[in-house]
């Protein structure tokens, strides 16, 4: 198969406290509040002192409920910063990481496309795999990078998609670029124009 069995696809795992860290930065999107609230609860049990050295960045979305944000507010962390759009959150997070010290751990929870954007910032600060943990929840919709015209589309839910810029039909591969924070879309009917697989909603 063209789109599976590719090792660059990120692997996620349920968030757990990394008690080796000295400062903790948590970043969540929408229903990602659930895993973060659970993580904060685990900290309270295992290392309550760490909560004062914990800061949370959270962006609401349509799927998130009032309870999600409230559960974070009740967590007792050092600081909670909430946003209603992703871009301002990312700008604010970047500015904060620029002042952060070694010993910081990053925890991310939310839809994969959001986590990719956070990870891209983390890599810019040279955070390595042993400093970042991520738990996927919410939509599996993908950011897709057209390898032909280099445009990137948000919220792609189908195995095959028409590039919004160059109008080629792309198959969405599992080949993931951490630098672009996106999956690669490759022209699907280059050999026989018009011969395309059936379009299915697969990333929901």
């Amino acid at each position: 198969m063209l789109i599976t069995g590719i090792r660059s696809k990120p692997v996620y795992a349920p968030l757990q406290p990394d008690l080796g860290g000295r400062y903790h930065v948590m970043v969540g999107h929408g229903v990602g509040a659930g895993p973060l609230a659970r993580l904060i609860g685990d900290f309270r049990t295992q290392a309550p002192d760490a909560l004062s050295r914990t800061r949370v960045w959270y962006v609401t979305d349509a799927a998130a409920t009032q309870d999600d944000a409230r559960s974070l507010q009740a967590g007792g962390v050092g600081e909670l910063r909430t946003f209603d759009a992703v871009d301002p959150l990312l700008t604010d997070l970047s500015a904060s990481l620029d002042q952060a010290l070694m010993g910081t751990r990053l925890y991310v929870a939310g839809p994969e496309s959001f986590m990719g954007l956070v990870m891209r910032i983390a890599h810019g600060f040279n955070l390595a795999q042993d400093e970042v943990r991520a738990e996927e929840c919410g939509s599996l919709a993908r950011r897709v990078h057209c390898i032909h015209c280099r445009d990137t589309m948000e919220n792609v839910r189908t195995n095959v998609v028409e590039c919004r810029s160059c109008h080629r039909w792309l198959i969405v591969r599992d080949h993931y670029s951490r630098r672009f924070a996106a999956y690669m879309g490759v022209m699907v009917d280059a050999e026989v124009p018009g011969e395309r697989p059936e379009i299915k909603e697969v990333f929901v």
């Binding site: 860290g21 952060a100 010290l101 070694m102 010993g103 910081t104 600060f125 040279n126 390595a128 795999q129």
Partner: protein
């Protein structure tokens, strides 16, 4: 695999300078052509053919990676010496021909670091000398903190401080002026990598402090070449070769194997790289592990040994060589 070290490079000693009373700098030039390219932090093995034995010691390259007309190494005369450093200090003259193995880097700079923090103790300055040449070509901020017993014992202190006074910080034990490891490591920006090379005590202090302050392992780098300890003599049976070899008290297991004509793998000869890892197929005593590579579980298993630095206290050790 073993061919990686059998093709040595013949070199001639072009210059010898006394840097301190205990440290000499040797400039090695190739007998023909140019020397292989290397990156800062690399070491070479120098092969010294003494009267009745061969010494193979690792030394960090300290010259600029941008200049391949010659290599420079600094040799601290160890006291007591197992023979290698004394050979370099007493037997080697300008014009002496030696063989060296190709450079290997087990202490490379992380290319994506946002800041580089270099901590040197004593002769541990040498890999950093080459790395500084590399760092000057980047825009990445860096600091060198270099501790020596006294200004007289400190190799290259003056030239380093003169070249980059804002980046080089010197410390001398005689002034009771020590590197504030905890203070330094607790205020580094995210994305910093720390590198330490020096005495064993300094390295373990840095590793312990970094861990306590939450530094992840991926950002902590160290280089510690253990000279092979001497010990009791013992015998080893090399199963694949079908021969028994006596390991005298003053030879390492690897040296004894090599003297018996068996080509065993190695890279660092200092117990750090893991290249010489060898399976133990028989043992009636205990292995004295001296390396920094095997895990505690592997060491306890008695199934594997690093012949470059480790020995055995037994009547019979059998290896898969």
């Amino acid at each position: 695999m073993s061919s990686s070290h059998s093709d040595t490079i013949p070199v001639r000693v072009a210059a010898i300078e006394s840097v301190t009373s205990q440290i000499k700098r040797f400039t090695l030039e190739p007998l023909r052509g140019e020397l292989p390219a290397f990156s800062g932090g690399s070491h070479i093995i120098v092969v010294m053919r003494g009267q009745d034995r061969v010494y193979r010691n690792p030394y960090s390259l300290m010259s600029s990676p941008q200049e391949l007309e010659n290599y420079q190494i600094s040799v601290l005369r160890c006291d007591p010496s197992r023979g290698g450093s004394a050979f370099m200090h007493e037997q080697v003259r300008v014009g002496t021909e030696l063989e060296i193995a190709h450079p290997v880097n087990l202490f490379a700079l992380a290319k994506l670091a946002r800041k580089q923090l270099l901590l040197a103790g004593g002769i541990g300055i040498t890999p950093f000398m080459a790395q500084l040449h590399d760092l000057r070509l980047t825009r990445v901020p860096y600091e060198l903190h270099y501790a020596t017993r006294s200004p007289q014992h400190g190799a290259y202190c003056e030239s380093l401080a003169r070249a980059e006074p804002e980046r080089v910080h010197l410390y001398h034990d005689c002034d009771r002026h020590f590197i504030d490891i905890e203070g330094l490591l607790s205020r580094q920006p995210l994305g910093t990598h720390v590198y330490v090379c020096g005495p064993a005590g300094m390295i373990s202090r840095v590793l312990d402090t970094a861990r306590a302050l939450g530094w992840p392992e991926s950002h902590v780098h160290y280089e510690k070449f253990a000279a092979p300890p001497t010990g009791e003599a013992f015998d080893v049976y090399l199963q694949k070769s079908g021969i028994s070899v006596h390991v005298p008290a003053d030879r390492s297991l690897l040296e004894a194997i090599e003297e018996a004509g068996v080509d065993a793998p190695y890279l660092c000869r200092g117990g750090v790289c893991g290249f010489c890892r060898t399976d133990v197929v028989g043992l009636d005593g205990e292995i004295l592990h001296n390396d920094h590579f095997l895990s505690a579980e592997e060491k306890a298993s008695g199934k594997v040994i690093m012949p470059c630095v480790s020995r055995a206290r037994c009547r019979k050790l059998a290896l898969n060589l």
